[in-house]
Symmetry: C2
Subunit: 947 residues, 2 copies
């Protein structure tokens, strides 16, 4: 067994013929080792004696490697000619005088770099070591044996990177603070981060920022190339010129003319593009083609025809391709190019019945077609089988940050890993493998989502697949990397739970579009659960914090404490605000104390940001400053902090009696009381009801509860209430023989008496069947009673997933059963209490149709009825992207499809079939005709199912 | 010229044969004179010398009068045998040794009493002298000459009185405090008040109160009879027994049985009634017939048929008439009896197509049929021509206080005199002349309305008629009576204005149903006007108060200060609450300062009540305590004080720009601004626009206004705003030659710029025509261009009247033109800007159909079109009373009838015709198709009319 030790005798080779970027990265890795071992590695001089040596280099660019190959110790053919791979070998006695060596042999510049960073990772150094100051665990005797020897495979996706976007106020202020601008010094940090995360591709910041001008000059571009970072530009910035360059250079006497208009200023624009291509041609790029309006807008007036737009684009593409031939390479197939089908450009690509789109246009040969998501993480169109052969392949422009419709989200990273896993794995299956780029805004607090995105792109086999549980395993590993240096395993598990909790809250509703009206303050306890989760996060993050050494505070606050607590505090604030609003409407005295609690949250929001921005000597300064509270428009303009509502107590002692999850209440007053019957305990699994005695008066009220039903028990039967008192009513169901009805009274002594009727029944249920209660049956999709796969595919459980935590989906993702006769299916069994019509709702993940045609089918059958097929798209006559449905589903994180069915009294079976691709079923809800469910965001809890 | 002086030698006669009540009243008048002159009148002994003597007595019950008649000095035949008249004569040397005398000769007990109180009035003593401690102006040389000699006519209405009702907490607490209960001592004060106000008839308190048992015993009834007060009982208390008596006396072993059920307990109930009749037969009564359920409820279950109910009532009436024959008088025509057609009883009277009602039933011969109002002051059915001959005549049960649907109003008296004038004068015209009774709740603060009601009933010729201006004259006189002792004429005029102002506010919306959502906080400036009026009232009432001597404070506070300020403060509170609610929704920083202002109003409400209840050593204690804030049900149960809304400022300086009467605003921000065009100045009479610069941020914003239009002038063009700054934009229209369009910008310096387009045109208008602007034409009904009367009647202007201050109505009120060919009419001339369809709305007073059939027609024609006839009743298939329309119109004080018409571009004439009776037209609104007027309670202001 060969072995190399990272002791105080460790040395690194150095070859000036290596890529300079490789040598720079080697220096970083030496610094990483120092953090682990406490020893600075020396520089090896050929021929000297050395106990432990790290030899690195790129095949055919290293004398050491050539020597080792010559001597048969390694086989560079394993890597030679490949894309970004490396061999990683622990060898004894590799050279004269050298006892042990680690050999890192890259196929190319980036392969070598990845190999070097692989060493850091193996020694427990996080890729975020310098970005978040994640200090690794110190090791006394660090070593590696040849069990780690490996030759990597090529990354799953060729270009993997991110987009620094929407950079004001966050990224911009951060860069100004630390580097005096978004310049090369700043980008060097970004390049390092990108490479450590196994990325290779970047869209630079472009709001008032010019990558190829601000380095200063070309310095940023030069440095990118040195590091092996492949530069590109965003979707609307052709020919390696950033969008703002034209604004700087245009003018009446400018050689580029004074109009961003290819028709009126063809010559100027063409020259502008040519000069960009010439300027950046020394470097490794992916060149954006096409043309949009300035600053992410339409290129032609809104009333221009589809044909006008397409014709213009054909002309532009031809022009740009000619310019590239002229300036970069006669053979376009040597030049990586992309066209991004973002926003309205998608429809120019697909065209319509009358107007052929750009699809198949020869100018796009060899051009990577960049598709995009729906702006919030669900993919728009994907290539169908025919399209997949497109020479140039496909890319994906994905959003973890958005400045645009249907809503902006720029503050704390809000990525829920299973969404990325499900959607991006699907993209890969559909052949989107050439470029993956993710908009991560200001980077700060986006580290988790970004890590996963790039790891998935690098190794789809490891982090993709059909089991969403992989996200949990990823999180284990990620927590180990970031928090391994500061916490034992138990602490890391607690952190993992906090991460799941806060990202699950965000999966239900993102920060910016959370407000007092999202969750109903009482119904189905949904707001209570969000509040409980939020408070648990705040408590747990604070408790863990006490165990963290000061040295690790930068990493802890930036990677966990701030994103988790910032999110939890915001959610808590809005839940309290919703409660305050409702309670004020009901004149509950508790509304007034909520005002102070809301205010504490508002102040805490600012305090958390201050803390994030001041920890580590202000290293994150700027990253917390995006507006994030109460958006009423797509962006922060005219946003609103919560309104606080203050009430006056009534002049006489006032009692309200309300089930804890019901906004209706009783007062016991003579004329306007609304007596209630509580039927909760007809549900087999319910044997208690919590209700509240609520004060609505200036003075407290005194109450007394009395009943002549011996089977009704109360947690309290008398007392005084000045705010709210919760009472538990319980029934020992084991003594019930049949359904019973009883009454009890709550007296507001001296003022009135509330009369309540209670119904309860013994816990009878049919095994395996969901039971109707309160007029509805709610079934989680994962709780099917039967599952049938077919040769073309079958349903699999996604857990965790979505806003309710689980779902089912057909794999493979590309399977389309619309025109098949055999379809995979799942069955759900339930008991209806009546022969009646029920409103049947399928709650689905808010995915979008995979084709440009606005159709996405689901199918079901009830009992022995025929298969019913429903198009989930509301308006099949307009493109899905930009539709009302797109907007609503993206905000609410759910797609609801509703129809009516006739159920039979007793046992029923509902079958759900695989049909169109990209359908993810979360839950099924049946509501009896005439029943109106209490208003809520998430809907009722799951119905009881007999064991 | 004969003359009598009220000097220190004044004496009063005294005869033991006089009615004891008359002598008691004489003593009161002597006390009144003392207040005026400072001299106590002596008691005259026959034969003695006397300089000035008051001789009073009842014809044929006074030796003095007999003597004077015998000697031909007075003619008692002028009064003898008449109902409640008196002769009032100043004579010199009436008797031996007497120099000057005032002779008061009544036709009967009450005639004499009214004559005595007439003396007090002539000397400036208010009828409220003892009720509100209204002290008269002191006079040094008080005298009367024979110019005041008069023989009165019989009162217009035979029985005139009020109903003390809904007496808890107000009246009940007042009575407990001062008299230890609602007993004879208490009633003596009531009887005096009633008689001084020229009433003669009373429904006593009956919530847990038994007039004929609590005196103690019959003492209250006996005392009433002594004073000549005719007692009755309320609508559901037959046979002189109060409603609660049965509850006290029933029981298993009771002789009256144990069920208020004429079918199951006929014997017990019959005996109960018989004993009541026997008990009270010594006194002058009007006996209530009929039967309803206990406590103002249904007598039979809600599902009983109409016929069941009517048959039961026939049986009850026959039984009661027989009992009266047996106990009171064999000849029923000698016995005043009434049946009250209140609530559901009305329909038993009218019956329906299939079931004949009680109308015309012989059992009702000689029984006064008491009709009623719609609970808020508009009459329900009135007798048609045939019905008017009913032997027994008609009465009216009217409400100035209500505990019931559609809403309760029990706090400060809310009577607007023109409503009473218009409706009760109409009642009289329809032959309702036998009994008028008004529910005035606890009496406190109802003095004005009550005074007018009884004065009108006493002398319809003086206070009725067809000119609502009579109300203003009445108020002059009333202010003179109440405030003459404390203020000079100018002060009384100011008080009169305050009274008009606060009762006009109540005519628009009563206290209890006022809330933050009634008036729109901005639109059409309606909330501003209510606020201005309210603040003016508060200021003026406080200013006047400074001029009031302590002695007069009891009267000033009870009759003016408390009702006016209590009302104004409540209206102000709600206007501020509405503003606070809207401003909070818009994130205006001003919302936060409004919170304190609302709180000040809430505290002031309590302070005003405390002051009212503590002035005059707590004389009014109890009267202020009715709940009156924020009713959400028909009564006070679950009522709500205003909610106060607090906002947080945005993180950056935020400017909102808004026309002062528009809830839409601009922010000047890049993406979500909503630019506006202001067209106000297209209206000929508008040459300026007020707009607000509003801060929505934590820090103030700095602004700058700029324009290149020289014709736009601004009251300010730069500054800093931390809350709100109002700017006036004005145009010198005299320099305009044609319509102009311009723009100006308001910059929130450093953050954004609002762009506003302004249109203006020279002031051109067509003489006599209303001009359309902003898509509507609004015309006050009184501004007709032409009026045509016919022989059967014609329109007259009502001014003041209704929620907008004026209206028109056809007189005589009984005229019905439905089936006539010639109808009175008025014409309205207006200019429409387009050939288009307009929504035409007639705003009418919320009167109800005069017949039981739910029809009430209006008619109009446009230009040369046919006459269109519209039924104003929404649901002609159900009785109007109890309908949704009844409830809504009663709350909003308006009836709206909407239809569509096609107007021509240019001149149009709309003709409105007299049709059904009881139609009062307030305004007409035309809104062009496609235009949605801003939401508001009162609607837009009147359109401009060319001179």
């Amino acid at each position: 067994m060969s072995k190399v030790s990272f002791d105080n005798k460790l040395m690194f080779t150095y070859e000036s013929k290596s890529f300079p970027g490789v040598n720079k990265v080697a220096a970083m890795v030496r610094q990483d080792l120092y953090l682990v071992t406490g020893f600075h590695a020396g520089e090896y001089t050929k021929g000297c004696k050395c106990r432990n040596l790290v030899i690195y280099g790129t095949a055919d660019k290293s004398d050491y490697l050539a020597d080792l190959e010559e001597r048969g110790l390694i086989d560079l053919d394993e890597v030679r000619g490949k894309w970004e791979v490396y061999g990683f070998y622990v060898l004894d006695n590799p050279m004269e005088g050298v006892d042990h060596a680690l050999v890192i042999a890259g196929s190319d510049k980036r392969g070598t770099i990845y190999g070097l960073f692989h060493l850091s990772e193996l020694l427990g150094v996080s890729p975020l070591v310098n970005w978040n100051h994640v200090f690794p665990k110190k090791k006394k005797n660090a070593f590696l044996t040849d069990s780690v020897n490996v030759v990597t495979k090529e990354p799953s996706v060729r270009y993997r990177g991110f987009f620094i976007n929407d950079e004001w106020p966050a990224f911009g202020n951060w860069a100004m603070e630390h580097f005096g601008g978004i310049n090369a010094e700043c980008y060097e940090r970004i390049f390092e981060l990108l490479l450590r995360l196994k990325g290779n591709y970047l869209w630079p910041a472009m709001w008032n920022s010019n990558f190829s001008m601000d380095g200063p000059g070309l310095e940023s571009a030069r440095l990118a190339d040195e590091y092996g970072v492949v530069m590109s530009t965003s979707h609307h910035e052709p020919c390696m010129r950033s969008g703002e360059e034209y604004r700087l250079l245009r003018g009446k006497s400018s050689i580029y003319g004074d109009a961003w208009d290819f028709i009126k200023n063809r010559e100027g624009i063409t020259r502008f593009w040519r000069d960009g291509l010439l300027r950046n041609r020394p470097f490794e790029n992916v060149i954006t083609l096409g043309m949009r309006g300035e600053r992410d807008s339409l290129i032609l007036p809104a009333d221009a025809s589809l044909k006008d737009n397409i014709d213009l684009l054909r002309d532009v593409l031809a022009t740009q391709n000619n310019l590239i031939r002229e300036t970069v390479d006669e053979d376009l197939s040597n030049v990586p190019r992309q066209m991004v089908l973002f926003s309205e450009v998608e429809k120019f690509f697909y065209g319509d019945d009358k107007t052929k789109g750009l699809m198949g246009d020869p100018q796009l040969d060899g051009v990577t077609l960049m598709l995009s998501d729906n702006n919030v993480g669900y993919l728009r169109t994907l290539p169908d089988k025919e399209m997949r052969d497109h020479p140039g392949g496909y890319g994906m422009y994905y959003h973890m940050d958005m400045h645009g419709g249907p809503y902006s989200f720029k503050w704390i990273g809000s990525t829920y890993l299973p969404r990325v896993w499900e959607q991006m794995t699907q993209a890969y299956e559909y052949g989107v493998r050439q470029i993956w780029v993710v908009n991560i805004g200001d980077i700060g607090t986006q580290e988790l989502g970004l890590s996963y995105f790039l790891d998935l792109a690098y190794d789809i086999d490891r982090w993709g697949g059909t089991d969403s549980g992989v996200c949990d395993r990823y999180l284990d590993e990620w927590c180990e990397r970031q928090f391994g240096g500061m916490l034992p395993l138990s602490g890391r598990s607690r952190i993992k739970k906090v991460i799941w909790d806060y990202t699950s809250l965000l999966e239900k509703r993102r920060h910016e579009i959370m407000n007092a009206d999202v969750y109903h303050p009482l119904h189905f306890g949904e707001a209570d659960r969000v509040l409980e989760t939020s408070e648990a996060i705040l408590k747990e993050a604070a408790a863990i914090r006490k165990k963290i050494d000061e040295q690790h505070m930068s990493a802890y606050i930036s990677l966990l404490y701030f994103p988790a607590c910032g999110t939890a505090n915001l959610m808590k604030m809005w839940i309290l605000a919703g409660r305050n609003k409702l309670f004020a409407r009901q004149n509950r005295m508790e509304a007034n104390s909520l005002v102070d609690e809301i205010d504490a949250c508002v102040r805490n929001d600012a305090a958390l940001i201050d803390e994030y921005e001041s920890v580590d000597d202000g290293y994150y300064k700027g990253f917390g400053r995006s507006e994030h509270i109460g958006f009423v428009n797509w962006n922060e303009e005219d946003d609103r902090f919560p309104i606080r509502h203050l009430v006056y107590g009534a002049n006489s002692p006032r009692m309200l009696v309300s089930r804890k999850d019901d906004e209706h209440y009783m007062t016991g007053l003579e004329w306007c009381d609304h007596p209630q019957t509580w039927r909760d305990m007809l549900r087999p699994d319910v044997d208690s009801i919590d209700f509240d005695l609520i004060s609505g008066g200036q003075q407290p009220f005194r109450f007394r509860i009395f009943t002549d039903c011996s089977w009704l028990k109360f947690s309290a039967t008398e007392g005084e209430v000045s705010r709210t008192k919760r009472i538990r009513l319980s029934v020992n169901k084991s003594v019930l023989e049949d359904k019973v009805t009883g009454t009890f009274d709550v007296e507001n002594i001296g003022y009135g008496t509330v009369h309540v009727t209670v119904e309860a029944s013994p816990p009878r249920a049919v095994s395996g069947f969901f039971m109707e209660s309160d007029g509805y049956i709610c079934m989680e999709a994962v709780h099917f009673s039967e599952k049938k796969d077919v040769s073309g595919g079958g349903f699999k459980v996604l857990l965790p997933y979505g806003r309710n935590g689980s779902a089912i989906k057909v794999f493979p993702s590309t399977a389309d059963f619309k025109d098949k006769t055999k379809r995979p299916s799942v069955k759900y069994s339930f008991i209806a209490l009546e022969d009646a019509e029920y409103e049947l709702t399928f709650e689905l993940a808010p995915t979008t149709p995979v084709s440009f045609e606005p159709v996405q089918y689901i199918a079901y059958s009830l009992n022995r009825g025929r298969i019913q097929c429903l198009n989930t798209v509301w308006q099949p006559d307009i493109p899905f992207f930009g539709s009302r449905q797109w907007s609503k589903e993206a905000m609410d994180s759910v797609k609801k499809v509703t129809t009516k069915v006739k159920c039979s009294k007793g046992e029923n079976t509902l079958t759900f079939y695989g049909m169109s691709p990209s359908i993810v079923l979360e839950r099924i809800l049946l509501v009896k005709e005439g029943v109106t469910l209490p208003e809520s965001y998430l809907g009722p809890g799951e119905s009881f199912r007999g064991l």
